[in-house]
């Protein structure tokens, strides 16, 4: 609180002189007193050099960083060290990989290897919370590494921009940590059945526990698979007879394939005895079935962002339990939007006949046993690296596939042609789901979801008949254009409607036109303001 007006120099000098004199008085007074009993004012710290330097297993920063969880009796320093000594493999840095990586890196897992071949997209960010707007376009594994290093630089992150496929094991550039794995745990954060089963076989072959998660729409699952089980106390003298194999308790919990068996190989192609028309019908029915079953992909079926967080964090919790040595085989069902958001399932034991983890007489030579590691060794030796049941998820065309070839009498047009005929009373039947139609749709189009259309084609046709759309100057003879999101379901819908019409000769015949590429093409080629989602 100095005055705004400066004091005269002489006054300040006098003040200083007084203060010095007062200091001298105080020091004299102190010197006359007896020595203090309390050593604290002593300028020398007491015998610092005499205490031997203690060794601490964590850095001072790590004690501070992990203190809040190390205080917990279920973790302690012991548990924290178990995490630090762990090396985990995370396949997928997407919706599940992001929360898994965030929480396990934050918790202090010592080393994390992460694989993902994909790049960050804007449509990922509602759930893939480790990535960010400025990293759109870069590889997800690399983006994850950047994000994790900002969060916890005490954790070692190895990022590989690679897909986890059979060809990975026949490539000279594959990291040796993958080829000769010594991971404490594998986390399946992938998004398709082929990769899940292949990763499970890998985990089983090397005896590494697997925590697997899945999330679509508003539901998810989390399971702990291939977990080594404590061997029961042996009562016999240890020389168990060899033929009692069926009665020996399993050494591992169920694997992913024990609980979710791989689906049987696709049905045999239609026999050549069928007429061409019958063969096309079989092909259509098969494609319709696949389309109704759904691809299971988040891009097609949708996924709640919060759900990925919940499933990923539950996977992280199971991972902690595995690394701390307290996990049990388990399966959780999560559905955050339902009244019972978490349900834990009592799971079956390991299945001796399981194609992934079972041990049984070899098919080729019944005198030898086929084991998970023998099957894996056979795969590694295979010159082309073929893995049974493998379908490349990157090449798979959902829904229509090969049946998208144009057929005789079929009318399929590009979006430009639909744009040109809009003024002339074209009727548009949009076969997407009600929710997708609600997001955005073409003016004047009518929504009949694909599954309803297949169930009841005549009602679908009634809905687009002129009396129902009086505002559009159309007649019974104007064509019906079928649209969907990408052009798969609309083609199947057009074929189903024309099949229906062929059984109704007295019904007014209409021209059915499939719009190729669907509304995605519409947005790209005709109207850039039409939202893509």
């Amino acid at each position: 609180m100095t005055s705004t007006i400066p004091r005269p120099r002489a006054e300040v000098l006098a003040d200083l002189e007084d203060t010095r004199a007062r200091l001298q008085c105080l020091e004299k007074e102190l010197a006359s007193l007896p020595p203090a009993l309390d050593p604290s004012p002593s300028p020398q710290p007491p015998a610092a050099a005499a205490v031997p330097q203690q060794q601490h297993p964590l850095s001072l920063r790590e004690y501070k960083r992990y203190g809040r969880q190390m205080i917990l009796p279920s973790l302690g320093l012991e548990g924290q060290l178990k995490l630090k000594r762990s090396h985990i493999l995370v396949i997928g840095a997407g919706g599940l990989g992001c929360p898994v990586l965030l929480y396990l890196a934050a918790a202090g897992v010592g080393e994390i290897t992460v694989l993902d071949h994909d790049s960050v997209e804007l449509s990922n960010l509602h759930r893939q919370v480790l990535h960010s707007e400025e990293r759109v376009g870069i590889n997800k594994a690399e983006s994850a590494k950047l994000g994790l290093e900002k969060l916890n630089s005490d954790v070692k992150i190895n990022a590989h921009a690679l897909p986890f496929t059979p060809s990975l094991f026949h490539s000279a550039t594959t990291p040796s940590s993958i080829l000769e794995p010594s991971f404490s745990l594998i986390l399946d954060c992938t998004d398709n059945p082929a990769t899940r089963h292949f990763l499970n076989a890998y985990a089983v072959a090397y005896g590494i526990p697997l925590v697997s998660g899945g999330a679509v729409r508003t539901e998810g699952t989390v399971g702990v698979f291939g977990l080594p089980l404590p061997s029961p106390p042996s009562t016999s003298s240890g020389s168990a007879p060899v033929d009692s194999e069926s009665s020996t308790p399993p050494t591992h919990g169920p694997c992913y394939a024990c609980i979710f068996p791989p689906s049987a190989p696709s049905p045999t192609p239609p026999s050549t005895e069928l007429s061409p028309a019958e063969r096309l019908l079989q092909e259509d029915l098969r494609a319709e079935k696949l389309a109704l079953q759904g691809t299971g992909a988040c891009s097609d079926e949708g996924v709640l962002g919060i759900l990925c967080g919940q499933v990923g964090v539950q996977m992280g919790a199971e991972a902690m339990r595995v690394l701390l040595g307290v996990a049990k085989p388990t399966l959780h069902l999560l559905s955050p939007m339902s009244p019972s958001p978490l349900r834990t399932i009592k799971v079956r034991a390991q299945k001796p006949s399981c194609p992934a983890c079972g041990t049984f007489p070899s098919l080729g030579d019944p005198s030898t046993l086929s084991t998970p590691s023998s099957r894996w060794a056979t795969f590694l030796c295979h010159p082309e690296g073929r893995w049974e049941g493998w379908e490349d998820p990157l090449c798979e065309i959902p829904g229509v596939g090969s049946s998208s070839l144009k057929r005789e009498g079929e009318r399929r047009v590009r979006v430009g042609e639909l744009a040109a005929s809009l003024g002339s009373g074209a009727r548009i039947l949009d076969v997407r789901s009600k929710a997708e139609f609600g997001i955005c749709h073409l003016d004047g189009s009518i929504n009949v979801p694909f599954s309803s259309l297949l169930r009841d084609p005549s009602s679908a046709l009634d809905l687009v008949s002129p009396s129902h759309s009086s505002s559009v100057p159309s007649t019974d003879s104007s064509p019906i254009y079928l649209v969907c999101r990408r052009g798969n379901d609309s083609l199947l819908a057009a074929r189903a409607l024309s099949r229906h019409l062929s059984t109704q000769p007295q019904a007014p015949q209409v021209e059915l036109v499939d719009v190729m590429g669907g509304l995605t093409a519409w947005s790209q080629d005709v109207d850039a303001t039409f939202p893509l989602y």
């Binding site: 997928g92 992938t190 998004d191 679509v216 539901e219 979710f260 079935k289 079956r348 297949l454």
Partner: protein, 138 residues
């Protein structure tokens, strides 16, 4: 809670109630609804659900005999397909022969159905059966 002796009479009723839940997309085949409270016959006649010929349609309502075989998961799968499935022309989306189609896990009172005897499990009043399709997304 009634005691065993007093419930004996009421238990002899021809129907039992169950909670059936669908998940993982299965709900899309059943009125887009996850949870259903259903009443199914307590007993059934096994030949009546045998997949002899696909052309023989199920009766408009399921017969509820006062005795016979106790309704089990095999019967429940048939009943759901005949009386609850939206699209009767596409039973293959739900079942395969007398059992469930591959890729669907059945849970009986939160237990993997394999531990309960699979198709042979005899249903009890108030049982909760979950049909969940494998979730692959991530």
């Amino acid at each position: 809670m009634a005691t065993d002796s007093t419930t004996a009479a009421s238990e002899a009723g021809p129907m039992i109630s169950l909670t059936v839940e669908f998940g993982g997309g299965m709900e899309l085949l059943f009125h887009h609804q996850h949870s259903h409270n259903v009443q199914i016959p307590r007993f059934y006649d096994p030949p009546s659900i045998a997949p002899t010929s696909s052309s023989s349609p199920a009766p408009p309502t399921a017969p509820a005999p006062l005795q016979g075989k106790k309704s089990d998961i095999r019967y429940l799968i048939w009943w759901l397909r005949e009386y609850l499935l939206d699209d009767k022309n596409r039973p293959e989306l739900f079942s395969q022969g007398e059992t469930i189609r591959p890729g669907i896990l059945i849970l009986i009172n939160s237990t993997d159905w394999e531990l309960e005897g699979e198709l042979e499990y005899e249903l009890e009043e108030g049982d909760e059966c979950v049909f969940i399709s494998t979730l692959h997304g991530g």
